[in-house]
Symmetry: C2
Subunit: 268 residues, 2 copies
């Protein structure tokens, strides 16, 4: 199983597609099949699906949720956007708040950011660390984050053995594309609400983030919970590829509608 790497993937790629029309058509078809399979998964009530979306600010996590999952039956789908942890959350281990939100049998859960922040963002911003009692020296040691990532692998293996299909997406954009997207948020009054001055601050750490992402993928790309690096400068290609990965993973599951044994019951 080849480990993907940001360095080797062009964020502006559109794969086999020359333009968006054909890609959008194929995406639509994939999504239709995907919604049917998610419904079947809900009825079958054995497997569950966990989608993890990671990526730098403006990489398109919100848009991916909207474009891929609007259309699915909301009864079986939940989205969790993880913000700065609360005081209570900080008093627990770094997997705690995410564990509670995992999908029960039949359900699909999308994590918009996740515990992977604790091995990427926290590398760059130790002040966000969940446990402030940990001394700075320890944080500077590579092993600290390597250990955390081993714990993540074990955690995901446990979920996977319970029937959770785990698909992890790193939305990969170029630094230029991010500039355009931030400027667009400033320009378009209906997008102003998505602008945060923090996004501009964070741009300064661009290279650190890319390195942290690659280290994360290197350490946590497993058979039971693979990473997919999605070229995301072109939103329509990002959507196509994401839909394709999910649809193909679901296609591989043996699922059926549960049957009633005695169908001759009389209704008075």
């Amino acid at each position: 199983m080849k480990t993907p790497s940001l360095k080797k993937i062009d964020p502006s790629s559109s794969g086999k597609f020359k333009d968006r029309e054909l890609a959008e058509l194929e995406t639509k078809k994939l999504l239709k099949k995907m919604y049917d399979r998610l419904y079947l998964m809900f009825a079958h009530n054995k497997f569950s699906l966990l989608i993890i979306l990671q990526g730098i600010d403006t990489s398109g996590k919100d848009g991916t949720v909207r474009n891929i999952f609007s259309g699915s039956n909301p009864q079986g789908v939940r989205v969790h956007s993880f913000k700065n942890p609360s005081e209570e959350e900080l008093r627990h281990d770094f997997l705690w708040r995410c564990h509670e939100k995992m999908p029960e049998s039949g359900f699909t859960v999308i994590f918009n950011r996740s515990y992977y922040e604790e091995v990427t963002t926290v590398k760059i911003h130790p002040e966000y660390l969940d446990d402030q009692r940990i001394p700075d020296e320890l944080l500077k040691d590579k092993k600290f984050f390597e250990k955390r990532m081993e714990r993540i692998n074990e955690f995901e293996k446990m979920l996977s053995q319970r029937g959770t299909v785990i698909l992890k997406f790193l939305l990969h954009i170029s630094k230029d594309e991010q500039k355009q997207r931030i400027e667009e948020r400033l320009k378009d009054p209906s997008k102003n609400w998505k602008f945060s001055p923090k996004d501009i601050e964070e741009r300064k750490h661009w290279n650190h983030y890319m390195t942290a992402f690659d280290e994360m993928i290197e350490a946590t790309h497993t058979k039971h919970a693979p990473w997919h690096v999605i070229p995301s400068d072109k939103k329509w290609y990002r959507d196509y590829l994401t839909a394709k990965v999910i649809e193909e993973a679901l296609k591989g599951l043996e699922m059926e509608f549960p049957k009633v044994k005695n169908r001759k019951i009389k209704v008075d």
Copy 2:
């Protein structure tokens, strides 16, 4: 404000529509507007929306969730289906487990069943009562449930004053329509999984349920949290009317996209 009553509303009504085509077209238009307003509500981040769906088995609660909310951005929408309470839930007051699931600012939450079970189903099945220490004599006293409904009104007033728009729907079907739907679930292999032998048992209490629903509506139809009795034999009319009620409630809210004050920020 007129209190609706099941007795006076024909479950097979289709209002101004002679057939489904026109209704479906209007529903589609209403939903498009509704999704835009829900997105604006999410961005505006002040109001929230609570939709409560009640109705007898097979009345179409799941279908309403699917038909009305597939298409909305799942990032701002959550559905909670309340099943039999857990042991922990039973050790708390009857509003506790629902309170936790309420929508935060900007969000839409749909309750598929709710605390209204505790003043309807529990009237018919005292064995499901959340607090088994309550003596049977007390349960037989009308006042027990009247008091609970007063507590509900006060609870909903508190939520409403915090910015939660509350819309309550009673999906109203005829006893004949229910028979057909149960038979359909037995006949159609892809619907078998929705069949429960309990549905046939519960049919025996049909009249008790209708009375309990009317008593519930009578006591808890308020300005800040009104009930809408939806004729639901025709699914396409049910969807139209539900969409219309929600869209009109949202139209009445003053909302706008938050603006950035200084839009001249330079992105390096």
